[in-house]
Symmetry: C2
C-alpha cells in the first residue's frame, strides 16, 4: 500500500479529523456538524482542514470511499461464484465491519448517510446475488426486481441490526444466518426448478 509513502503529519491529521468526526456523529446528525466545530474538537487549524477536504460532506464521502474500497478488495479476494465462495466473502465483510463498527454504525444508523447505504447495496448486491443467478431464472420476469430488492434489503437490514445493537454474533454466524434467510426466501422458486427438472 501507499500508506507508508504519505507524510506522517498528513496521516496524523487525517486520523485526528476522522476520529473527531466519528465522535461528533455519535452525538448529532452530520447535517449540523460544522467545519469549525470539528477542527475545534480535534484542535487543528481550520485552514489545515481545507488543505485536505473542501467541506464536511467531501470529507465524509472520502471516508466512505475508503470503506467501500475495502469491501471491494474483499470481493476481489473472494470472487463470488458457488456457495462456498459467497460464505467466505460474507465472513470477510462482517469482519471488516466489525473492525470499523463505530463508523459503520454512524453511517448506517438513524443519523447516517442514505447515500452510503445505497452504494453498499449496489456494490455488494450486484455481486453477491449474481451467484444466485441460476435460481433467478425461474422467477417470473416481473417479480425479479422485487425479489432482488427484498433479499438485498433484507440482508442489509440484518447487517444494520447487528451493527447498531452491537451484536455479539461472530462473522461466521452472521454469514450463515444470512445465507439461510436468502435460501428460505428463494425456496419457492428453487422447488419449482427441481420440479421442472424432474418432469
Amino acid at each position: 500500500m501507499d500508506t507508508k509513502k504519505v507524510d506522517r503529519r498528513v496521516r496524523k491529521t487525517r486520523k485526528q479529523l476522522r476520529d473527531g468526526l466519528a465522535r461528533l456523529m455519535e452525538k448529532k446528525s452530520i447535517r449540523d456538524i460544522k467545519v469549525k466545530e470539528l477542527v475545534e474538537e480535534v484542535d487543528i487549524n481550520r485552514s489545515t482542514f481545507y488543505l485536505h477536504y473542501s467541506d464536511i460532506y467531501d470529507m465524509l464521502s472520502k471516508i466512505e470511499e475508503e470503506l467501500i474500497e475495502e469491501i471491494e478488495e474483499a470481493l476481489r479476494q473472494y470472487p463470488l461464484g458457488e456457495g462456498r465462495k459467497s460464505m467466505d466473502f460474507l465472513c470477510r465483510m462482517f469482519e471488516i465491519m466489525e473492525e470499523n463498527r463505530e463508523i459503520y454504525k454512524a453511517l448506517c444508523g438513524q443519523n447516517g448517510d442514505a447515500n452510503f447505504v445505497v452504494r453498499l447495496e449496489n456494490m455488494v448486491g450486484s455481486e453477491a446475488l449474481r451467484s444466485l443467478a441460476t435460481l433467478f431464472e425461474q422467477v417470473p420476469k416481473r417479480e425479479i426486481s422485487f425479489l432482488y430488492a427484498y433479499c438485498l434489503n433484507g440482508c442489509l437490514g440484518m447487517v444494520k441490526m447487528w451493527l447498531i445493537y452491537d451484536g455479539k454474533e461472530t462473522p461466521e454466524e452472521m454469514a450463515g444466518l444470512m445465507v439461510r434467510m436468502v435460501t428460505n426466501t428463494l425456496r419457492e422458486y428453487h422447488d419449482a426448478q427441481e420440479k421442472s427438472a424432474i418432469s
Copy 2:
C-alpha cells in the same frame, strides 16, 4: 380536520414552500438547500419562512410528520390482526404512497432522509409484523431480531424499488407480492410449527 380553520394565506404559503422544497429536492440533496434559495424559488419573503419553520430541517421534519400521520391513520382504520386485515392495510399504504409518490421518492431515495425511513420502519414494522407473532414463537430467540430485520427491510426494499422506478403495479398487486415474500421467508419456521403440532 382543522384544515378549514387555517387562514387561507397560511395554507397558501405552506403549500408554496412545500412544493418548492419538493422541486428543489429533485435537483439537489437537502443538505445544500438553503432557506434563502427556497424562498427565492417560491418568491416569498425570507421572514415569512421563519414565521412557519425555524430552518429547512425543521420544515422537512414537519412534512414527514404529516406523512407519518397519514399512515398511522390507515393503521387505525385497518388495525392489523389476521391475514385479511394486513392486506387491507398494505393496499391502503401503497395507495397513500402512490398519491404522494414524488415526496416519498425524494425521502426514500439516494438523497433521502435516513431518519424518515427509520421512522416508517419502526411504525409499520412494529405493527405489521405483530400479526405474525404466533409464527415467531417457533423461531429461536437469538434469531428473532434478525429474522424480523430481514423481513422488515426486505419489504421496505420492495417499497423503495416500486417508488423509485415508478412501478406500474397496483397497490393490490404490491401488497400481494409482499405478503408472499414474507410468507416464503417464514415458511421454514411455519413448517416446523406444523410438525411440532403433529408430534
